[in-house]
């Protein structure tokens, strides 16, 4: 039985166990129908031209974990940003771990999707927001059909959330292959500010396929900073579908740090639904072996006087492949839009590949849109210059690569994240130098 059939038959079992209200039940049924019709995307589709899911779909994933697993904090501490105080929403093989988490209902809700989907007091928020930003593509629909757990974050208006929130999904490898479909909902009301860190981490080399959907609503003048740390093992794959609905004068940023995993596809979508909105999408990708990372971004400028800033840097070694497909749509009404996009890549191996494609659809006539992609190699003359000063080849390379990606790190607002990313980069490049540039 292939994965699609397995999912469809699992859905029947899953649905019977649920105690949903009619609203959610209808959503799920529509969603599974969409998935059934469209199936998994193939390379025939323009948006998937350079990324094939074939190699990861052939595993025999278990759809529902058979047992509850626990892990000790000391064993996984290193995957947390642990040197700062934070809220934590932690899942093990898709199940909530109260032991590793620190949630709150004190003036805001930083808790679980399962609670929000079942308790009446959340019903209004669910009906107003759940599945309202996500598109009806096959993978998001698949997630919607199966969505049962994830992070639920609702920050009421005029609230500065003092501590960042960490959402971490662990997979234990207790089953030979597992498919996870976390579902996160983040609603940030007027004038509120929240910072979120998300990470998916497999603890063994067993296969993991995560098809995640995150919906973020930044309401009037809200500020949302979202950091995705993707540094998973070589048999873990991630399809991350993130949708951000911004209302007027809100500011939202997503930084995606992609260093690991077998195949990572980031579908990152911003919808600017008011005036004077600011959106930032930044990423650093450093991969090797046969890793594949695909950034598929969309910024939809719907209203006038908004800005968007995109900056993705990629360094590709060995047999790795990178894809960047950045789409910017500027509606006819969205005059005075200022949209900026840059994608710079360095290939450090003859066998590495990058496919980069800016895609601009501009219907307004008074806008500033700039875009640029570059693909290059490490500057040989810079290498000799650094080496002639006593910096060995490996360290010189690392320093150049770090400097190359440094622009993206400069907008990270949490210093501990910056330090952590710097450390991961140094590790990844196999050097022991402090890049406090």
């Amino acid at each position: 039985m292939d994965l699609k059939e397995k999912l469809l038959s699992s859905f029947l079992v899953f649905e019977n166990q649920l105690d949903d209200d009619a609203y959610l039940n209808d959503l799920r049924n529509d969603a599974i129908k969409t998935f059934e019709e469209k199936g998994f995307p193939s390379k025939k589709e323009e948006a998937w031209k350079y990324t094939s899911l074939n190699s990861i779909l052939k595993e025999d994933y278990s759809i529902f974990p058979k047992q509850e697993n626990s892990i000790e904090f000391s064993d996984v501490k290193k995957y947390f940003i642990h040197d700062i105080d934070s809220y934590k929403i932690v899942f093990i093989d898709g199940k909530y771990s109260s032991h590793l988490s620190q949630t709150t209902h004190d003036g805001m809700d930083i808790c679980l999707m399962s609670a929000a989907m079942s308790k009446p007091k959340y019903r209004l928020v669910i009906e107003n927001y759940f599945n309202k930003a996500a598109t009806k593509d096959s993978l998001s629909s698949l997630n919607t059909a199966f969505s049962s757990e994830g992070a639920y974050i609702h920050i009421p208006k005029n609230k500065m959330v003092a501590k960042p929130i960490q959402i971490i999904h662990f997979s234990t490898g207790n089953e030979s292959a597992i498919m996870l479909q976390p579902r996160n909902l983040v609603v940030v009301d007027e004038n509120s500010h929240v910072q979120i860190i998300e990470r998916h981490q497999s603890l063994t080399d067993n296969a993991v396929l995560t098809n995640s959907v995150t919906e973020i609503f930044a309401n009037k003048r809200a500020i949302v900073d979202y950091y995705k740390i993707q540094n998973d093992t070589l048999n873990a794959s991630l399809i991350d579908n993130t949708f951000i609905n911004q209302q007027r004068e809100s500011v939202a940023s997503v930084h995606t740090f992609s260093f690991g995993g077998k195949l990572v596809r980031n579908n990152l979508n911003f919808y600017q639904k008011g005036e004077r909105i600011d959106s930032t999408l930044k990423g650093i990708t450093i991969i090797g072996e046969k890793q594949h990372v695909d950034h598929n971004t969309l910024v939809h400028h719907i209203e006038p006087n908004c800005e968007s800033h995109q900056d993705y840097k990629g360094i590709f070694g060995e047999n790795s492949t990178g894809v960047f497909n950045g789409k910017i749509i500027v509606n006819k009404e969205a005059q005075k839009t200022n949209a900026f996009q840059a994608n710079n890549n360095i290939l450090i191996s003859d066998k590495a590949t990058i496919n980069t494609k800016p895609q601009l659809e501009i219907f307004a006539d008074d806008v500033k849109c700039s875009h640029g992609c570059t693909i290059g190699q490490l500057d040989e003359s810079a290498m000799f210059y650094m080496r002639s000063r006593g910096i060995p080849e490996k360290e010189a390379k690392a320093l150049l690569m770090y400097a190359f990606s440094n622009n993206v790190l400069s907008s990270v607002k949490i210093p501990e994240i910056k330090q952590r990313i710097t450390k991961i980069i140094a590790n990844k490049l196999g050097v022991n130098i402090g890049f406090d540039l």
Partner: protein
């Protein structure tokens, strides 16, 4: 300290150095002059270990050791420094951090601990004052947007930080106005001691008014065709290079 014997080098199978002989002892200042295309910069790059150049014959001995097979960084660790004719811009790496990395990597290679941050700061302050470099300048990206003079001053600042045994100054005077030239030369002279040596590569004599050489060599067509004292530099300044060419071709 440095002994170059019958050195032949080529790039892309094009022979550029055709039998150089040169010996530099500790405490000496040598100048290499010559018309454009004579191989001056190639000689500097070959000694510093640039990989594009292939040594086809001869040897480079530094403190008794044949350094031909050493990488550029290993030569740097042994005390060879090249001040570039065209210093490379490295966006995203500040001058300070570049120097910190260079010094600590050199110490690491010698089996020493990293330099404590306090000492590093003190050293940077001292040496930047010597080259009259503004502190703000040190936090800027290396060479990025620097003027010609700033780049060269920065090269000598790096030299001051690294305290090499042998400093090769490749056309350090090009692009310098007279004030910058004086600052740079002053820096070099202050660093001069009986234990180190300087090889100045230049097209013009004017830098040699400030950094006074003990020996002047004329490089032409990949060979040293004439050597003499500092008066040879004046003679070249007056008469140009044509008489040398004629002498050689005769």
């Amino acid at each position: 300290m440095l002994k170059i014997e019958n050195l032949h080098a080529s790039v892309d199978d094009k022979s550029i150095l055709k039998g150089i002989n040169l010996e530099i002892k500790a405490g000496e200042v040598h100048a290499i002059m010559g018309p454009n295309g004579s191989g001056k910069s190639t000689l500097a790059s070959v000694v510093a270990g640039k990989e594009e150049y292939e040594v086809t014959k001869g040897s480079i001995i530094f403190n008794g050791e044949d350094i031909e097979d050493l990488a550029a960084e290993e030569r740097a660790h042994k005390g060879i420094f090249l001040s570039f004719q065209y210093p490379v811009e490295i966006p995203g790496v500040s001058v300070t951090n570049f120097m910190k990395t260079a010094i600590n990597e050199t110490r690491k290679a010698k089996g020493l601990e990293e330099m404590p941050a306090k000492d590093m700061l003190k050293l940077i302050r001292e040496k930047s004052e010597l080259l009259e470099i503004d502190r703000k300048f040190l936090s800027r990206s290396l060479n990025e947007g620097f003027s010609g003079g700033e780049k060269k001053r920065n090269e000598i600042f790096q030299m001051a930080m690294l305290e090499p045994q042998l400093a090769i100054l490749d056309e350090t005077d090009s692009g310098l106005d007279i004030d910058a030239l004086r600052i740079v030369a002053n820096g070099v002279n202050k660093l001069k001691s009986k234990d180190n040596a300087v090889l100045v590569i230049t097209h013009y004599q004017r830098l040699l008014d400030y950094i006074v050489p003990d020996f002047v060599h004329v490089l032409y067509n990949g060979r040293i065709v004439k050597s003499g004292g500092k008066e040879l530099a004046h003679e070249l300044e007056e008469k140009g290079y044509d008489w040398i060419k004629e002498e050689v071709n005769a």
